[in-house]
């Protein structure tokens, strides 16, 4: 054993360390910092940040052929299992009764998807090929698993920046939305009180809803079936009330384990080579644009509905139609309440918010369908 040969071996960790690694580790630390100290979507950004850290320690082998990150990536991202398992859990947590009590609220879930397509246009103009532009656009679904699912199908090479943008901005909703809300609505509009006299929703309706929705959306937009069906499966487990064991497993074990592994696996794709380029910067800016555009479109549609209804609808609930469940709904209600302490529109906002969740999944499926067809990969 020649000691001259030893030194390079001893310092191989440092000698293989690149500027790119340093920058990415800095990025990882920022993600972890935001997750832990600013509580920005910690359940996802903490594992993503940690996975990124590991991917940039040279020779650690986590992302090598037999490494743990690679094993998790192949098991749950490539197969799209993790976002779907997360959706089973999310479905078990969603309550569709505010939406079912006011079905017209579902319209607000359509307008809030405009950001997807507006961002796609902008991404095309910035020179992204169609598959990447569509994946970037789907950040505008403002729903993590939908963004990850579509990006995995169309442009897995952009998965990490898309996931990071989707989850980061989702937590920044309380900073992004209020200025736009105040800019686009008048004080008078914001103080519109909405009567809440819902028709009672029977347990039977709640049980039929996820089944019927799966069928209707599945037949209309086959590409949306995996996402919508897992969301509805989780909801059915919950509302049926006969399989407590399964619904508890869905909203605890299954979603927690899938979330941890998903985060680590996505983070592990954040190597300097694939992440440190102009595209990542563009995606972060386009993502912010998508969020803003969604909010604007939602608010404008809310104003339209306000006008049509003769001023009975508070346009703020339009901003809840972007998805970002359940934050956007609460934020719309809070903004109305801040303006007038006697104004409570939470139930309407939550109806629009669950509609946005459905609209996001549907829009994601439609986008996947159109783009797959155009690229001949459908």
């Amino acid at each position: 054993m020649d000691l001259k040969l030893l030194l390079p071996e001893l310092l191989k960790g440092f000698s293989h360390f690149t500027i790119g690694n340093a920058v990415m580790i800095f990025a990882a630390l920022i993600l972890i910092y935001l997750a832990v100290f600013k509580e920005i979507e910690p359940v996802l950004l903490l594992p993503i940040g940690f996975g990124c850290l590991l991917a940039n320690i040279p020779l650690a082998g986590m992302t090598a052929a037999e490494g743990m990150s690679k094993v998790l990536y192949d098991a749950g991202i490539k197969t799209e299992l993790f976002p779907l398992l997360i959706f089973i859990g999310v479905g078990a947590m969603i309550d569709f009764s505010p939406l079912l009590a006011q079905p017209r609220m579902v319209l607000l879930g359509a307008a809030g998807q405009f950001g997807i397509f507006g961002t796609l246009i902008l991404a095309i103009l910035l020179g992204f090929p169609l598959n990447q532009a569509a994946s970037i656009g789907v950040i505008g679904a403002i729903d993590g698993p939908t963004s990850i699912f579509v990006a995995t199908k169309l442009a897995p090479e952009l998965l990490a920046p898309i996931a990071v943008a989707a989850y980061s901005y989702m937590s920044l909703i309380p900073i992004i939305q209020p200025p736009l809300m105040r800019l686009l609505t008048t004080k008078k509009e914001r103080t519109i009180q909405m009567e809440y006299a819902p028709k009672p929703i029977s347990k039977r309706t709640l049980i039929f809803f996820p089944v019927v929705l799966t069928l209707v959306v599945g037949l209309l937009v086959p590409e949306a079936t995996p996402l919508i069906s897992m969301l509805m499966l989780g909801n059915l487990l919950k509302v049926s009330g006969v399989v407590d064991r399964l619904s508890k497993a869905a909203e605890n074990e299954i979603i927690n384990i899938a979330t941890l592994f998903l985060g680590l696996a996505i983070g592990s794709t954040m190597s300097a080579a694939s992440f440190l380029n102009l595209d990542t910067g563009k995606i972060m800016i386009l993502g912010l644009f998508a969020f803003a555009l969604d909010t604007v479109a939602g608010l404008l549609f809310g104003k339209l509905m306000c006008a049509i209804s003769g001023g009975k609808i508070n346009p703020l609930i339009g901003a809840a139609g972007i998805s970002a469940f359940p934050m956007a709904g609460r934020l719309a209600a809070k903004t109305a309440n801040d303006e007038d302490p006697n104004n409570f529109i939470l139930m309407h906002a939550m109806g629009a918010n669950t509609a946005g969740q459905l609209g996001s999944v549907i829009a994601g499926g439609i986008l996947l369908s159109i783009v797959s067809k155009m690229l001949g990969i459908g």
Binding site: P98, F117, I121, P198, P200, F208, M327, G359
Partner: protein, 113 residues
Amino acid sequence: MSDLLLSLQITALGMGLVFGAILLLWLTMVLLTLFTADAPLSEGDASVSPAPVPVSETGYKLQAAAIAVAIALAEQDLSSAHPLPEPPTAIVSAWQLGMRTSQRSEKGNFRRH
């Protein structure tokens, strides 16, 4: 510019389909609530129906908070602002409390009419 044209077409088509699907969904929901409401729960039950679906520990805490708030509200005037505590993580559906305070206050409003 053909790229731009293409993306505009996708947008028109995509938003059209989204609105179409959502309209169909609206119709579905109306029909569904119509045909499955023949054995409706009483109004009191219906407003409670989301309650058996509380989410995680926070959900339970919010329920407890909701009861406390309801009692407090019954004892004092409704003019004060209502607290809407932030949920610890975004996974948590946090609006159970707000729903009750909302309903509570609307009843108050109706009385004044």
